[in-house]
């Protein structure tokens, strides 16, 4: 299938048998409408956002070596062998679309956002996006422009912060000598 005609098309990638289309964030609503009307993706299966703050830096998946590989001079090197590819912005928002036909076609539309950026809501294209967008707002603090009631869904109304952000404190008290800085 040819995806280059999608409004806001940036690039197309194939990995692990899945197609990922990067879409310019400002055009996501028109792109979704186009995918639904012209390409036949009737269903929005899932909408998920990811925070890439600290992606590829030390302290997340254990010790991480340099970009070229592990540092063999450093003791107990575990974690990554190489640094993962750099992401364009902090947040990614992925729309998993499905075309109900034989064989089924799935595609992931993805757009990239910085902290504080707004994304057009796709409720007008798929009403199911309502709760998905609210959950995304609740968990990661990404707001959707044009959503009729952008409120928290899972957490309490007066909750502080967005729990799935990588800079959200995960609790615990600082202990002396625990940090060897």
């Amino acid at each position: 299938m040819n995806y280059t005609a999608l409004p806001g098309f940036v690039e197309q990638k194939e990995s692990f048998g899945e197609t990922t289309i990067t879409i310019d964030a400002a055009h996501i609503r028109t792109a979704c409408a186009y995918a639904r009307e012209e390409l036949g993706f009737e269903m929005l299966v899932d909408l998920v956002a990811t925070d890439y703050l600290g992606w590829g830096s030390k302290g997340v998946s254990g010790y991480i070596a340099t970009a070229s590989g592990r540092d063999i001079n450093f003791p107990s090197t575990q974690g990554l062998q190489t640094l993962p590819a750099v992401k364009p912005k902090r947040f990614s928002v992925s729309y998993h679309l499905l075309a109900l036909r034989q064989p089924p076609v799935r595609v992931r539309l993805q757009c990239w956002l910085d902290d504080g950026d707004e994304l057009p809501s796709v409720i007008s294209v798929w009403p199911t996006a309502d709760w998905h967008e609210r959950e995304t707002y609740d968990m990661l603090g990404i707001t959707f422009d044009g959503h009729p009631h952008m409120r928290r869904l899972l957490m309490e109304d007066d909750w502080d912060g967005h729990p799935l952000r990588k800079d959200y404190p995960i609790g615990g008290e600082p202990v002396r000598f625990s940090d060897a800085e």
Binding site: S15, F16, E18, T20, V45, D46, Y52, S61, L80
Partner: protein, 297 residues
């Protein structure tokens, strides 16, 4: 075996739906009948995995342990009994006037609405859309078994009940086919011997240095997953259960997100209750079969 347990779980889930949905509409005896068969499934589960619920038996590379002695005959007994139980349910409900009047034509969801609302699984099939990931996008060994996908066009509570009862029947058939196959495979290994992902057997640790290293590496660090992102959907009892996973190339996932069918099903409540009576709400929510633990994950 995994497929067999998945199907048992599907029957188990639908039994709970049927029992509680009927209970909510006043058919208390249905609840006891359903939980009677549910108990049989739980016994099978306990036998295989040691736990009745929230079992941990599937592993990367295979199963945690061998299938125990005595599982096959007991499971076969269940497979032979289940169609009779399903006939009982049908007799109990299909001539029950209260059940019929409270479910037929209630909670209507058209096929277009169901698709726009992202509904999957029994709800979608009860709205007349012929869609089942087990058949359309086969995983495990679903391509090798014979089963029908029940579809009802009415889109009401009654259709959802019919879809689920029919699905239990089909699942029983799948379990039967799996059993036949498994009985021929007796004595085969239950897990891969790839030491990069599976712990070596305990007795090897005393004699083999490599096993000890593999054991240590897997326990302390885990194994690496290639960098990238994937979305893997399966047909769970309630519909499409998807798992979105982002890996940075290390042993721990960067982001895991589950697409929960209950979350999406509950969203359809508003559309289904359009033009309905308040008293029908309980029938409608019951028929959407949303489980709160699944909804908020």
């Amino acid at each position: 075996m995994r497929m067999l347990l998945c199907e048992l779980n599907r029957i188990h889930s639908h039994l709970i739906f049927l029992g509680t949905a009927a209970l909510e509409l006043g058919a208390v005896s249905m609840f006891w009948y359903c939980f009677r068969e549910r108990e049989l499934i739980m016994d099978l589960y306990e036998m295989v995995t040691g736990q009745r619920m929230h079992t941990r038996y599937f592993q990367i590379g295979g199963l945690a342990e061998d299938i125990p002695e005595g599982f096959y005959p007991q499971c076969r007994e269940f497979v032979e009994w289940m169609p009779h139980a399903l006939n009982d349910y049908r007799t109990l409900l299909d001539r029950n006037k209260i059940w019929l009047e409270r479910t037929k034509g209630v909670g209507l969801l058209s096929a277009d609405d169901a698709i726009a609302l992202g509904q999957t699984g029994p709800i979608l099939r009860a709205s007349g859309v012929d869609w089942d990931l087990r058949r359309d996008q086969p995983y495990l060994a679903y391509a090798n078994v014979d089963f029908q996908v029940p579809v009802y066009p009415e889109g009401d509570v009654y259709a959802r009940y019919r879809v689920r009862v029919d699905e239990m029947r089909e699942s029983t058939r799948i379990v039967d086919q799996c059993l036949r196959r498994l009985e021929r495979l007796k004595g085969q290994p239950w897990i891969t011997d790839d030491r990069k992902v599976v712990l070596p057997p305990r007795e090897e640790l005393h004699t083999s240095m490599e096993s000890l290293i593999h054991h240590f590496k897997i326990v302390t660090e885990g194994f690496r997953v290639p960098e990238g992102e994937v979305y893997v959907p399966i047909e769970s009892p309630r519909g499409e259960q998807g798992c979105y996973l982002v890996s940075d190339g290390g042993p721990k996932p960067w982001r895991v997100h589950f697409r929960a069918p209950s979350f999406v099903a509950l969203e359809a409540t508003a559309t289904c209750t359009h033009d309905a009576l308040v008293a029908d709400l309980i029938a409608i929510v019951g028929s959407l079969d949303a489980v709160m633990g699944d909804t908020d994950r």
